[in-house]
Amino acid sequence: MIINEKICVDGWKKVLKYILDEGTDFTDTDNRQCREVLNLMVTIEQPEKDHDKLIDIMKQFEWIYPTSEELSTIIFNKEDLAIYEYSYGPRIFNFGNKKDQINDYIIPLLKSDPSSRRAVISLFNPSTDSDILNKNIPSLMYIYFKIKNNELICTCFIRSNDFFIGWPGNIYQIYLLQKYVSDKLYIKTGALSTMSCSAHIFHEHFEYVKKII
C-alpha cells in the first residue's frame, strides 16, 4: 500500500484509518492485541510544514509523551548514554565507535556526487542486534538520502512501526535529520517517506485513534 499526502497530519490520519479498516489482527510476543498492515509506504511531500504538529496532538492524551527536546537529543547525541540500551544518535554519528555516517559519509558523498544512489545509513548493527535474546533493537533501520530537483528527499525503512504512538516521534526525528543534511548541502528539504514492514496499532489505543481520525 502506498499513501501520498502533502502534510504529516493528513498522511498520519489516512494511514491510521487504513490500518483500522484494512489491517489484520494478531497477538504480539508480549501478548498484546495489534492490528497491522504489512509493507506500508507513506510519502509526505512537505514535511517541513507540520513535522512537529503530531507531537502536540499526542500530548493531549493522558500519557506522558517524550518532549521534542528528548526526541531531538536521541537522534543527534552521539554519546552512548549508559542508561539506554541503544540510542539512534550514536548509531548515526558514531557507529561502532568509528563512523560518523552523516558528516563523514552522506554529506561529502552528496556534495561530490549529487546524483548518488549510495547515500544510505544503517542504524542496524547485526553484530549486536541479531541476537535471539535481545528484544531491544532499533525499529528504524536504514535511512536513504537522495537529491532530486535540487531538494533532499529522504526515505527510511522501519521494521516495526506503532503508527499511532511511534510514527509522530519518528517523523519529527527523521525530518530533523533530513533538515540537518539539507542545510549542510545548502538545498531545501523535499519529500519524506517511511516504509514500514509492520505498520500497526494496539487495540488498547483504538479509542484514541478513532478520536483523531
Binding site: S87, P138, S139, I165
Partner: protein, 529 residues
Amino acid sequence: MRDTENIILNVFKNNSTKDLSTEFLSKKVYPQEYSQIENLMQSSDIVYIHDAKRRKFQLHRKLLYYMNKLIDSKIVKITRIAEKGEKYFTLQTGEDDTIIEKGYKTVISKPAMTSMYINQYESRGVMKKYEEDSWINRLNSIMLECAKIPDIDRLYNLIIECFTNVNDVIALNEFENILNAASDKTLKEFTSKIAKDTENSEKTVAIIINIAQTNNNIYEFINHYAEINPKKMNIVFNLSNKDLQKHSKILEHIIEKFSDSKIKINFKNNDLSRAPYFKGRAGIYNFDEKDWNIYDKKFKGNVVGVSCSQSQVAVNINRFFEIYRTDSEFRQAILGAAKTLLLANTIQRRKSHEYFRNINNINYPNSADFYKFSRDYIRFWNYDWHKDVTENHNLFALVENTKELVDNFCYSEETIFKSCGIPIRFKIAFSSAFRNFDQKFMGERDYKKFTVNKAEDYYNGEIKEFLGIREKMFEIFDGGDRLRIFRKSDFVIADILHELGIIFSAYKIPFFTYDFSGLKGTVKLTSFM
C-alpha cells in the same frame, strides 16, 4: 570568580532547593572563625560574649559583601528577612543550571520541578519523595556483586565511590565470596571502617550472605559484627529449608551472638525467591523474579554492579483516606506518583553522564547493563491491614487493581518511548515503607506488632490468620516486604531454629526479621547442647 564566592556556591550546591540563612552560610564559609566565635559565646565572661557578638556581626558583614556580588550577578536572591534583620538566600537559577565563571566551573543542579502530578498530595502530607534534594541525581539502591570484585580492598573502595551516587543503600550480594577469602583481621578492619563510614555518610550497607556457601570464617565475622553492632549496616542470610538443618551450627552461632547484642536477624527464603532482598532506610528492596532469571542466565558473572531502585515516593494510607474518600481518588493519586517517577527518570536519563559518572564506570564497557533491572518504588505506610480482615480485602483489591493500572501505565510509556527510538526501562514496584523513610512525614507507627513467645504460637488461629494476610501482602508488594517478628520470652536457641523451620515450611513468607529488642538477659545454648 573569587574563592569565597566559589565556597558559597559550593554550599548552595549541596542545598540547591533550600533557603539558607546568613548565619548558616557564615558557619559553612568561615568554619574556623565561626568555631572561635562559638567558643567565646560559651564563656561566662560578659566581655568575651560581647567580643563574640561583635566578631559574629563582622563575619556576617564580610559574608554579605560576597552575597551582594552574587545577587548582582543574578546567581542568588534574598528570599526573606527574618527577625533581627537576618537575611535568607536561595539560588536564583532555574533547574539544572550551570554556572561558569572566570577560571572556575561550578555546576549546580537544582532538582527539576517534577512534582506537578503530586503537588496537592505533598502539600497535604499524604505523599512524600524520598530524600527530595537528591531524589533525581542519586539512585536509591544498588547492588554490588562480590563474586566479581577481586578483593576486600577493592570492595571497600567501590563502596566509598558509590556513596556519592546513592541515597539509601548499597547491597553486597554473595558476600561469602569475600568472607571466605579474607583474613579475620582484614574482615574486622573492613567491617569497622564500613560501620563508621555508613554512620558518617548516613548511608546503609546491606550484606547478603548465602549460608550454604560460607566457610568457618563466618564465625569470627559474626563475633566481630555483634561486638561492634553497626547502626547503619544489616545482614540478610539467604537459605533454603534444607539449609536450616544442614547449617544449623552456623545458625545457632548467629542467633546466639545477634540476640545477645539485640541485633535483628534477617532471613530470606531461597525456596520462595531466588532474587535478592535487602534492607535500606526507606524499606525493603528486591529484584523482580522474572528479571532475576534473565539476569542469572545472561548477565551474572559479567557485571560488577546493578541498580535496584532509582527514585521513590511514599504514601501515608491512613492520612490519605482521612482527606480523600474514594478508591478512584486513590488510583488517581498513585497514577500521579507514577507520572512523577517517569519525569524523574527522564531527567536522570538526560543527565546520567553527569550524575552517575562513577556508576557508569563500574561495568565498563557494559555500562548499560547497570540499569537493566532497575525499578522505581511506590511505598505504603500505615495501612492497617490487620485491623479488620473484611476491610483489608477491600484494600487488597484496591491496591491490586491500582498496581494493574500502574503496570499498564509503565508498559504504555515504555512502548511510547521505545517507538520513538528511546528504549527506556520503566517499572514501578509497590512495597511497604519504613518509618525511617522520613520520620516526620510518617508520624507514629500504627501497626500491630507481631510478637511470638514460643513455637506453638505459629499454630494459633489468630496468628495463622495474620500470617495469611502477610502472605497475601508479599504477593501484592512486588517490590518486597518484610515480616518483623518480635521475639519475647526466654528461649533456647533450639526454639528459634524450630520456629524458623515452621516459617520456612508452612508459610509463603520470603523475607522476615527476628527482632530480639524485647528480650531480657542473654540466650543460652545449654538445653540445646
